[in-house]
Amino acid sequence: MAIDKVISEKRRRQCAKLVDLSKRVIRDAFDRFKHEELAIAWTGGKDSTLTLWIVREVCKERGLPLPKTMMIGEGDEFEEIHEFVQRIKKEWNVPLEICRNEDVLRAANYTLNAIVKVKDLNERNQAELKRIGFEGEEFPFEAESYVGNHLMKTVVFNEFLERNKIKGIFQGIRWDEHPARFNDEYFELKKGEHLVPEHTRIRPILHFTEKDVWDTYAALKIPYCVLYERGYRSLGAKSTTVKTSDLPAWKQDLENTEERVGRRQDKEKAMEKLRKLGYM
């Protein structure tokens, strides 16, 4: 299954160049770290799957297996992503570890929106809540709340690094996906501190735009999750992710619309309103 998009020879060469640049970053990472100290963060989404695919190419070059691959299970995933991940895992022989915060899931009785009592959590999770400044006694179990996001993603991520003694982890982040990413670097050392192991985040596809990503998928016939065909552009938790259109993601107006569409209102319109307030 490949994307039904015609890619010109020129564009194909451009995509190959972008991939080459990513490969250089990956080779550099392979030279800097021991193979068993490297890992890949995968979500099943287009960016991390592209990252995984390119890392795999470099592994083939060097006759190495794929580094340990982690995926965060938040307890609110799309069935379609699950199926895609299982298929790719088998086809590419991905050493996949699905990581969950079992302690929180258990306390929430594996039920979305259930109330979790802080005192029912283990010491580590209680310490994490303290670290982020949570002062309540309970919270609803939602993956995309501040608390939920931290416990279900950040904590799980840090625990994975710690457990496997990972020193470098590949991430599928791009400069153009969010203004907050503009200053990200290919290699970023995160210093170790309380509850956070020291590690380097490696971002081989930083330079890809959303359009580059889809053109590369089409040009190199890389498999992708079927949800993108149905109009999803950016995949998060099932209950909070919405379709942006009925068109496949790559046929949407990628350059003039937001990839991560706000759930309430167009921020740009509000910005305009603020700009008109001269005295701000």
Binding site: G133, G136, E142, Y146, N149, A180, Q265, L274, L277, G278
Partner: protein, 447 residues
């Protein structure tokens, strides 16, 4: 336990100049400064400073965000008391001898029935009448000392600032929201202008003065620069500092140097020569708001005696006299605070927090809005070591979602990388125009 990194000081200490606005060099060599006061609305005053920085005279009684002070020929001082919507004349021994609140039989009304609305400048003309810039009425007017309206220019102006008289009888006025400087004659004809309305040329200019050589010196506030422009519209001199600062008023001294008020956080008046060297500087500022080691009382369990959440500051300086903190008492397990506001300015509930330059922080809260006509959001500003904001305009500041209208509790999470020159952050709940916004469970941590 609240851990405080920098203690701040008492609010409204006389002589603590928080936000210098108008500035002029007096014939005796001293400098007269109108201080708009701190972010919470305290400490607005007028100070006269000698060349060594000693405060030799001050007046602060009842002032709210005073924008201008001009020394009159008779030795009195004409003060534009902006948020109080009035102008007053005070004697050296601090007696008020004229108060626009007394006009119209004590209603403060002018002879045309209108009331000053957010005035920001007043000059005395040769004949003893006054030239007033009446910002929110979009006009500059000439009135006598009894409030009789003698002349008014009310076309073409959008939130004007600093109308000042020229020797030829014309008036130079900053059409701030129109991004232009206008010279207007008595017949209300525009005889000269600069700025094509685009922010590239001028962005929110707030003062212009005519120099002896016939050129015009303009404080191009949001472009953070001072421009000298010839009558033909050619820019022949520019001044900018490495710091980001929205200059407010410039003044040409006899010596050919320029006094410039740095409003947007740098808390200082500088005097520069034509080479751009700072030849004199006045700064007497200590930040009143403490800086906390980390976000403190983000769950609002503690309420201060003034009804404001403990460790948070209600910033009213830009609120044009409106707005207050309200509480949603139905919220469980604790009541949570919000802001209620009813006019076009801006109101903030904020806290200053120490941050590590270059680090990334995640900020999150739950936000609820009711009938917000403008915008409400959670935003974060960063400041350099002089207390100047590192962003040009509010729209550049990192923020969560922008909310309008009515929204039930919504998770709002955003990440921000701290600029290299930042020394501390201010996390703010913001609202403009009318409506209510509430927040709860506010958290912030380094990722």
């Amino acid at each position: 336990m609240a851990e405080i990194i920098s203690p701040g000081c008492e609010r409204g200490i006389p002589g603590n100049v928080e936000m210098p606005l108008s500035v002029e060099r007096l014939p005796n060599g001293n400098t007269l400064i109108a201080d708009g006061g701190d972010e919470a609305g305290f400490g607005s005053e007028v100070v006269e400073v000698d060349p060594l920085g000693n405060i030799v005279w001050r007046y602060g009684e009842g002032l709210r965000f005073a924008h201008s002070a001009r020394r009159l020929k008779n030795g009195n001082t004409l003060i534009t008391d902006t948020t109080n919507n009035r102008i007053i004349e005070v004697t050296p021994d601090k007696r008020i001898v004229m108060d626009s609140d007394e006009w119209g039989g004590g209603t403060g009304r002018l002879s045309d029935g209108s009331h000053l609305h957010y005035p920001n400048e007043a000059f005395e003309l040769q004949d003893g009448t006054l030239l007033v810039t009446d910002r929110n009425n979009d006009r500059c007017i000439q009135v006598d000392r009894n409030g009789n309206l003698l002349w008014s220019f009310d076309r073409e102006l959008h939130h004007p600032h600093n109308a000042n008289p020229l020797p030829n009888g014309n008036i130079l006025v900053s059409d701030s929201d129109g991004n232009r400087i206008l010279e207007v004659n008595r017949k209300k004809e525009i005889v000269w202008s600069y700025g094509d309305g685009s922010p590239e040329t001028l962005w929110w200019p707030r003062s212009a003065i005519r120099l002896e050589n016939g050129n015009t010196l303009i404080t191009d506030s949001k472009n953070h620069r001072i421009l000298e422009v010839t009558p033909a519209g050619e820019v022949v001199w520019k001044f900018q500092t490495e710091h980001v600062d929205k200059f407010y008023i410039s003044f040409a001294t006899k010596e050919g140097t320029f006094l410039i008020s740095c409003t947007d956080g740098h808390h200082q008046v500088i005097e520069v020569d034509r080479t751009g060297n700072i030849v004199w500087l006045f700064r007497n500022y200590r930040r009143p708001a403490p800086i906390y080691a980390r976000l403190t009382n983000g769950f609002f369990k503690e309420i201060g005696p003034d009804g404001v959440p403990k460790h948070w500051v209600l910033a009213t300086r830009l609120s044009e006299g409106g707005g207050k903190v309200i509480w949603d008492t139905n919220n469980k397990p604790n009541p949570c605070p919000g802001l209620q506001y009813d006019r076009p300015g801006a109101l903030f509930l904020q806290q200053s927090i120490a941050v590590e330059p270059g680090a990334t922080y995640r900020i999150g809260a739950e936000i609820k809005t009711v009938d917000v006509k403008g915008v409400a959001c959670l935003l974060i500003d960063f400041f350099d070591s002089l207390g100047g904001s590192l962003y040009h305009v509010i729209t550049e500041m990192p923020s969560g979602e922008y909310f309008s209208g009515t929204n039930d509790w919504t998770h709002d999470i955003f990440e921000v990388r701290v600029p290299e020159r930042a020394t501390f952050a201010e996390l703010r709940l913001f609202i403009n125009d009318s409506g209510r916004v509430f927040m709860r469970n506010v958290m912030m941590h380094k990722v």
